[in-house]
Amino acid sequence: MKSIFLYLKLILSIGLIFFFFGQNFLPGQPVAQLGQHQLVKEKSSNESVKPGPVNLKEKTAILVFLGWMWLVIAILIYLLIQKIREVDRLYEIKYYDVSSHGQEK
């Protein structure tokens, strides 16, 4: 059982990495090589409406936004881990059993 999961994780991670990043980070292939292997999201030739930030200001805004968002998420995760420790301890000392419902939140 353990070995199956090892294989599964390996296959899945390779597959996922390829699908999520492989296709999109290869936009600059020469057209001659594409032929029938052309990608669905071929950016250089096929796309008539280009998504994404249009200027430096928007690019910076996106980076600032992402930085802020990940900071908030990191802080939240830290706090949640503290909370998890607390509720685990409460569970171990059987705090919930003596209290009635509605105590927690």
Partner: protein, 354 residues
């Protein structure tokens, strides 16, 4: 009358305490495969994001032959953060389908469908197909040339089914060919029929999960000792929320860095564009169909391929009934069949891309 807090006032009227009580008593077993329990709620998170972003796109999208492409262009160029929302909808769909696959395959290998959870598995398989139907119908809606071509191919495939094939294709297309009528039909499916069906089946699925509790892997079950566990609320839910936050952050990052584009507008009379290919989750089927020769023993190869796929789907659906001896030799074969399927799907997908 004694002074009541607002919380108590609500509690007497809603009785939410019972739910909290139930969730506190619901124990989540702890073992080394507990991690896979998180995949289910990951799907739910992406479903919620799909519903929210879907509602938002609906505010601007126009499901007609003349306006569909133009309205998607408008969303991406004129509406504030339009490209972000569309990109979120795309990436959330991608991740949702990825987690549906991970969820099902992990349950297959862990044999979570053992009695009494057969119906949980079967409703899960239905949910898988509903999700894929969402992906297929949604792919057409931007009405660019690739989505048109992929839909033509996708709706033509059932036509090779003996007897009913043509009829199925016409039903899907709303006519003999993919036209504006197909677009209207797919739109209706995507925003109304499929969501309602999904919510019904999902409700059934979740009810069964609550009824039977979390499945414990066979090996842990065999050891005949009480497994350590913690309550669903709040211990497990807090752990899950950490995972949700990571998923949400990853989704937003992906959507901003790899935004979903839009191709040339669809032209019903134009030749198929080079490199027509379905979304990644259909690639292995796409490649399988390509491999079959035109005829095998006088029978069209497509017909054999589609019949094989239908048999495979049937086997997959009835897996809990086939796996009568999970701990024995037959069970092991079925477990390895899952691994074989994963290898097959990954190899085929890579082959069709490379």
């Amino acid at each position: 009358m004694p002074k009541q807090s607002f919380r108590e006032w609500l509690e007497t009227r809603l009785g939410w305490g019972q739910i909290v009580n139930f969730l506190q008593k619901k124990e989540v077993p702890r073992h080394k495969h507990t991690l896979w329990y998180y995949t289910g709620s990951a799907i739910l998170i992406f479903l919620v994001i799909q519903i929210i972003t879907g509602f938002m796109l609906l505010l601007y999208y126009k499901p007609t032959l003349e306006k569909a492409y133009q309205s998607v262009t408008q969303i991406m160029t004129e509406v504030s953060y339009g490209w972000v929302i569309r990109s979120l909808h795309h990436w959330s769909a991608t991740l949702m389908i990825a987690f549906v696959f991970i969820h099902l395959l992990s349950l297959w290998i862990l044999k979570a469908y053992r009695p009494p959870r057969e119906l949980t598995w079967m409703s899960g398989v239905i949910l898988l197909f509903l999700t894929l139907a969402f992906g297929f119908t949604g792919y057409l809606l931007p009405w660019d040339e690739l989505s048109l071509a992929a839909t033509k191919v996708g709706t033509e495939i059932p036509s090779t089914i003996p007897l009913i094939g043509r009829w199925v294709t016409q039903l899907l297309r709303g006519g003999a060919d993919v036209t504006g009528d197909t677009l209207t039909r797919f739109f209706g499916l995507h925003v109304s029929i499929l969501p309602l069906s999904l919510i019904l089946v999902l409700g059934f699925h979740l009810y069964l999960i609550q009824k039977h509790g979390m499945s414990v892997p066979l090996r842990e079950e065999k050891q005949n000792r009480p497994l350590p566990s913690y309550p669903f609320w709040p211990n497990f839910l807090l752990r899950e929320s950490v995972f949700w936050l990571i998923l949400l952050g990853s989704l937003i990052t992906l959507s901003l860095f790899l935004p979903r584009g839009l191709g040339q507008p669809a032209d019903l009379m134009a030749p198929a564009p080079v490199g027509v290919r379905p979304e990644w989750y259909f690639l292995f089927l796409f490649q399988t169909l390509k491999l079959f020769p035109a005829t095998i023993l006088g029978i069209p190869g497509d017909t054999i391929a589609i019949l094989l796929v239908m048999v495979a789907v049937g086997l997959f659906f009835f897996l809990p009934l086939l796996d009568t001896d999970p701990a024995g030799r037959k069970g092991k074969v079925i477990t390895w069949a899952a691994v074989a399927f994963i290898v097959y799907a990954v190899v085929m997908s890579l082959w069709s891309v490379l």
